[in-house]
Subunit: 394 residues, 2 copies
Amino acid sequence: MSGKLRVSLTSKLLKYARVDVPFCAEDFGLDHAFDLISYADPQSFYHVLDEPSSQFKLPQADTDDSAEENQLQMCRSVEVYADDGCGTTITALAAGQLQVQVVGRFCPVVNEPYMMGRIACVSLLSSLYTMGVSGQSVLMQLTISRKLTELQRDVFLPLMVRGFEDCCKEADVKISGQQVERSRWLSIGGVALGFYDTSKKFIVQEHAVPGDVLVLTKPLGTHEAVSAFGRLQEPKTRAKILRHISEQAVGEAYRQAIKSMGLLNRVNSFLMNIYNAHAATAIGEYGFMQHAEALARRQQENVSFCITNIPVIAGMQLISKRLVKGLSPEISGGLLICMPLEQALPFIDQFKEAVGYQPWIVGSVKSGRKTVYISKDARIISQFPDNCIIELDE
Amino acid sequence: MSGKLRVSLTSKLLKYARVDVPFCAEDFGLDHAFDLISYADPQSFYHVLDEPSSQFKLPQADTDDSAEENQLQMCRSVEVYADDGCGTTITALAAGQLQVQVVGRFCPVVNEPYMMGRIACVSLLSSLYTMGVSGQSVLMQLTISRKLTELQRDVFLPLMVRGFEDCCKEADVKISGQQVERSRWLSIGGVALGFYDTSKKFIVQEHAVPGDVLVLTKPLGTHEAVSAFGRLQEPKTRAKILRHISEQAVGEAYRQAIKSMGLLNRVNSFLMNIYNAHAATAIGEYGFMQHAEALARRQQENVSFCITNIPVIAGMQLISKRLVKGLSPEISGGLLICMPLEQALPFIDQFKEAVGYQPWIVGSVKSGRKTVYISKDARIISQFPDNCIIELDE
């Protein structure tokens, strides 16, 4: 039922165990029709969200859950809002320590096994980072699809695991073990733990006040870029994409998305503690607006978030109308952070120094009814090179 | 793929959420042919071990594992011997803390859902207790068999979960969350964590010296009792059992086994720290001898274990020849502890005071070649009432 996976990376595999080397299925004699993402559970978020009709809603926190007598309260520990598809719990241990636990498994969303391992790890740890907690240990969890061929297993799994491991190492998180199971679908993720001394400050995610600014640390459009790149390979959908944007531009957007999704949100966690963040959330599969709305709802003060800037992966605004409304799902997105303006400026400087690019001030916190709205004169920020624009679909 | 289970216990179910009330399937209109254990993975330990031909061996610790270059070392943290079917790892966290993690899932071995939840919890936590570590938090993991009917789900799951929860509460372990998955088979277990300050003593399990005594904290024969009780219900096997032992005696042995399997090994952990235990292991599915042998092999000094007493659940020695050789699998067995004689005596006294019965000195540690042998004049200890013995099968 469960076991341990010990796999070796041949030098051929090692070549692809890097962020900057796109995976090449042909190199292993693998058929494109059975790419990594074909083993994703079709019930998983990104697939569902691909259909514009579906009303996939972020569950609201039960505020007035009148616990019936004899009802099993499954998590007897303090539970916090889990707004990123990850179950997050905080448990008071003996000796004044808080254990912050996040749980998440991720089906393949890109056809690059190494990057998929990284993306899963980044997504998982983000839930810790939104609370300003650094990860300490991860129990890796893998489900291996029974439908994988032996060749696919030998190529996909070592690379996925290595991607996950490399990312843990980068995050200074120890891997405390591994659970492997056979399943219908392929997934990778796990249980990540962080610890917090109760004597220290804890980012409780509900202290935004009017005057705060909203900082977003990764551009939107990851899912749109991955999806557009996939549709380019399909003869049926290829022409439709190319009506709006060049093949080269999609390729560039895809590589930018891959890089962004594989980037840890760790530095945020560190800087948020220094620069007095009032609240934060990770942007994930529910899309920018839903995550922002969930964050607004849980604030103690009556505040609303006014969005004035929408940073997107270059070109993606040309092919997706929902993206510029903040409605596209994101894969392993950045953090949305509420903090005082005077703290945001040094935060942005230090972030840039550590990560290499500048995060965006995307809006501000105003008095309001715990809602989020996009300002009428909001700007779309995109460093898209002009010569790649072909035509706008109005 | 995963989710949270929120189930309620009706008053009818609550009646069976107790150690001392045997589960009654008829009370819920459930068919005996589809008892809880029929949803156990047939590949799981107890089933395999039921066949005397199978050579199910406890894996030996890789001592000279010449790690090939580029080989994925799945657990980069320090790994300890996992001798009870649970994966145990020790991870050095920041700030001088050690995280002890045990992972285990258990398929139904008894037809009592509440007790099965308890047994899974006891088995899981035992792995922490062998190291003298107290449990702090548990992530509960459930796999729900797709073959369960709705009625079975509504009866089995709430009781199993409640049993697990009650046991956690008793052990003062917080439940930090829950992972639920659909699967072919039913199982319950999870990931348990304990923490150890590196400045404190840690029971490293390898310091037995000649002169130590061996203490066993639960009698052997749990699996034999459960199995005999099951065979009594089958017309085919019933007669064979009754040739050796009365129905009443099997029933008593079964209730004793149930009670024993549901008993936490927690007090051991506490007392082992006080009374200077040199090494310990939990007795589980590989049976007494294999677990003892694994413990002997890992000792630093050249010692052997000489077994002079074999405490068994009353009557089980009459129906199982392998039991008295220490070869029967055990379910949620006790701890086998090496400690100085002068420490064992107060240990036994305090154990009795806390738990209600006296653990057994089952042998002694001698100079030797890291083996285990049963002394020629070893005694079988059984409080079996004479009038229940029917016939010995010689």
